[in-house]
């Protein structure tokens, strides 16, 4: 936005907001000003007609919105429950930008609206500056995050809003890093935890000194309620499996909630019983939990679209890689290396099924690669795919951040050069050379040929799910043996559990 588009109406609405407390008109104009990098996304005023959807529940997005004029309704699907009506000076859309999780509700214009759409990059810059914006956002993030979580639980739908607001106000947001202890077995239970983002491992001390992982919990789940309900000490330890955000509700607030509503109490007791039963059942067998654990530990569980190759079906023909390169300027966005897994077989005597999660973007739920891109070139599309826009300047931040090496840096070469770099089909003579030893020809030229293939680092490239081809994934579409599939973590684990 520039000085002409930043109208006095916008300035007066922003000026009255808690978020921008203490900012004068010049500072506000500067905040809304042009993007710091050429080609980067910048804040835009947008007009929305009555009835138009601004945010779709479960979609992903790259924007945060400030309402300048009009009214919007926040509703929860599937039943369309009205959660809030927002008026000028309110904002929404920050949860997805902070947590990386999909949008948790629909937002629809009730009357014609004027909004400011703030792109992720600008939002991240604002969040870096200490002051009212960051403080308010942190508070709102907890309040809305907790409220959203509580509202997902059907039993809480009927709770008095004031009580919920009180609980929300007193709750604390806690952030843990990998392997940090959230709860220690044997400690006094003083609170209940709701996982906002990430995975935790629940570990129990068994007879004989064995420490066994009894469960993995992920966002949406809660723990610590047993100790409160039974007035016992903590029966298991809970560890963060990566960066984990939890909302801590203290004992007194928890009981205030439970005592006021019998349905919540019943619900929590039922969940607690189920968990106890599951723990007892898992005490006898570790295999399935072991595999689920592996899937969690190695990060596959964050995948919304992982590329999985069934190794016992894959003939290593390379057609998937060729197809990918053919559809993406000669540079394949997948390599057939990666994480090896052995899925337990359902039939008791049969061998486990080996498969490979290939090196290709998994479009994680909380993409670490998106943090800190200077131009905001790496974005998440509403459909969920993480894509790199043309404004990439090749700094390599995303490639360094991706924990799985799924983003590579490639030279933006002209087509003719790219063609040369592609691995050609070997000649018939090539087939006959498998026994070659150093005497009959050292293989140095092969090494050199290989080294030549290393390309100058210029732009980041990664899988875009073939969005330009109507999501018809080239790799999957072109495997002759049905050996390769794209799957999200839920489908994947469900299929293995049911042995489909």
């Amino acid at each position: 936005m520039n000085e002409k588009t930043v109208t006095s109406e916008i300035l007066s609405v922003l000026g009255a907001m808690e978020l921008f407390r203490g900012k004068d008109r010049d500072e506000l104009t500067e905040w809304l000003g042009p993007a710091p990098f050429e080609g980067g996304a910048e804040c835009e005023p947008i007009m929305i007609g009555a009835g138009q959807r601004i945010i779709e529940q479960e979609s992903f997005g790259n924007s945060f919105y400030i309402l300048i004029r009009g009214t919007v309704a926040v509703t929860l699907m599937p039943e369309g429950r009205l959660l809030a009506t927002l008026t000028p000076g309110n904002f929404f859309g920050e949860m997805t930008l902070i947590s990386g999780l999909p949008r948790s509700a629909n937002v629809t214009a009730v009357t014609p609206c004027c909004l400011i759409e703030v792109p992720r990059r600008a939002f991240e810059l604002w969040m870096r500056k200490p002051g009212a914006f960051r403080d308010t956002m942190d508070r709102v993030y907890i309040e809305r995050g907790l409220a959203n979580h509580l509202m997902m639980i059907p039993e809480l739908a009927a709770i008095e809003p004031q009580l919920l607001r009180d609980v929300v106000k007193k709750a604390r947001l806690r952030i843990y890093s990998k392997d940090e202890t959230i709860v220690q077995e044997g400690d006094d239970g003083d609170s209940l935890f709701l996982i906002r983002d990430g995975y935790v491992r629940v570990v129990k001390n068994m007879a004989g000194g064995e420490r066994r992982t009894v469960a993995y919990l992920k966002d949406g789940a809660y723990f610590g309620e047993s100790a409160l309900l039974r007035a016992e000490r903590r029966s298991a330890s809970v560890f963060a499996m990566g960066k984990v955000e939890v909302i801590q509700v203290m004992k007194e607030d928890f009981f205030a909630l439970v005592n006021r509503n019998e349905r919540i109490a019943d619900h929590l007791v039922r969940i607690d019983q189920k968990r106890q039963e599951a723990e007892q059942a898992s005490a006898g067998s570790t295999t399935r939990l072991g595999f689920v654990g592996e899937v969690v530990e190695r990060g596959l569980v964050k995948a919304t679209s992982a590329l999985v190759i069934h190794l016992n079906a894959c003939t290593r023909c390379g057609n998937c890689v060729d197809a990918c390169a053919e559809l993406h300027d000669g540079i394949s966005r997948l390599t057939r290396h990666g994480m090896l897994f052995e899925a337990p077989s359902r039939a008791p005597q049969s061998a486990p099924e080996p498969f490979l999660v290939a090196t290709s973007c998994m479009h994680c739920l909380d993409p670490e690669c998106m943090i800190g891109c200077p131009t905001g070139a790496i974005t998440r599309d509403v459909n969920g795919e993480v894509v790199i826009q043309d404004s990439c300047i090749g700094c390599g931040n995303c490639a360094r951040r991706c924990p799985y090496g799924n983003i590579s840096m490639a030279d933006a070469l002209p087509q003719a050069e790219l063609e040369k770099q592609r691995t050609g089909t070997p000649t018939i003579g090539g087939y006959l050379k498998f026994w070659r030893t150093p005497e009959n020809e050292p293989m140095m030229h092969e090494i050199e040929k290989n080294n030549q293939k290393a390309v100058v680092q210029r732009i980041a490239v990664k899988c875009d799910l073939c969005r330009d081809y109507n999501y018809n994934h080239g790799c999957v579409h072109n495997c002759p043996y049905s050996a390769i599939e794209r799957t999200d973590a839920e489908t994947f684990l469900d299929a293995l559990r049911s042995g489909q």
Binding site: M152, R316, R346, I447, H473, H477, G499
Partner: protein
């Protein structure tokens, strides 16, 4: 939170691959009915009809076989030229196999179980080579992947295998060059041949042993050589031995990769030759 899979993309995972689906059954039904129909025509009609009608029937078998063979070969167009073509390549391969099988029966009845004069004889030889290589390839595509999975430490592409193999050989030769004359001679005479030993490769295939298991067996085998060397060179010799065994194992993998590429080369070459001779055959039938 239950996260919706990326909306526009198809998210699926089948724990047991290679399951026959509805489409497979359709193709299987097509193949069985077609082969039954063709066989009925041949065995109950052929020979019972007047000679000119018989000739028409034989020609019809030929035409059907040729059209089906052309249809089968269109897989190549989809595979190499139409990466976003209609239908998954696996569905095309399925169709290819069943159409190929039906075409084989049509051609068999067209030939009347005879080879005939040189052009049809050569044509038929190429045709049967194509069919046999196709069946072989299909068999290999089921058998080789599990074998590869068993012996690979990590799946690798052929280019990587070549360069890692070269690195291992280089490592071994560097050790040899830096050692005593006896050491170099031992590496050359005793370890180098192991890199391309068929017997050893066969062991990987047969026993599906892991590299770690093989290496300890290998080092036991090579213990005699240590007696020839001074103590400080023992460890270097063992390392050279590890390199040799690794090269051998990679040769075992490479061989499988090349078998998988090799059969397809044969299948495609015989297809091309077959179509060449088919053109000649059709031309000679029409004009002579």
């Amino acid at each position: 939170m239950k996260v919706a899979p990326i909306k526009a993309s198809r998210s699926r995972f089948s724990a047991s691959w290679m399951r026959s689906g509805r489409i497979d059954y359709l193709w299987q039904t097509f193949a069985v009915l077609s082969v039954a129909g063709l066989s009925w025509l041949y065995f109950s009609m052929y020979g019972q009809l007047p000679p000119d009608r018989n000739r028409v029937l034989v020609l019809a078998f030929g035409c059907a076989g040729t059209i089906l063979a052309v249809l089968a070969a269109s897989l190549s167009v989809r595979k190499r030229l139409a990466y976003q073509g209609v239908g998954k390549l696996s569905a095309w391969l399925n169709a290819h196999i069943y159409i190929g099988i039906v075409s084989a029966f049509a051609i068999l009845y067209h030939s009347g179980f005879r080879m005939g004069s040189p052009v049809p004889a050569i044509l038929l030889s190429f045709y049967w080579f194509t069919i046999v290589s196709g069946v072989m390839g299909l068999w290999l595509s089921r058998k080789v992947p599990p074998l590869l999975t068993a012996i690979e430490e990590n799946p690798a592409i052929i280019e990587d295998l070549l360069s890692v193999r070269a690195e291992c050989l280089r490592g071994m030769l560097e050790l040899a060059a830096g050692g005593s004359a006896k050491f170099s001679a031992l590496v050359k005479d005793s370890l180098l041949p192991q890199t391309a030993s068929w017997k050893r490769m066969g062991r990987f295939y047969r026993n599906r042993t892991t590299f770690a298991e093989e290496i300890s067996a290998f080092q036991k085998e090579q213990e005699w050589a240590l007696g020839w060397l001074a103590a400080p060179e023992h460890r270097a010799y063992q390392r050279a031995g590890e390199y040799a065994l690794r090269v051998n194992k990679m040769n075992a993998e490479l061989l499988l990769h090349r078998v998988m590429r090799g059969w397809l080369t044969i299948h495609i070459t015989t297809t091309a030759a077959m179509f060449g001779f088919a053109a000649l055959h059709i031309f000679s039938v029409l004009y002579y």
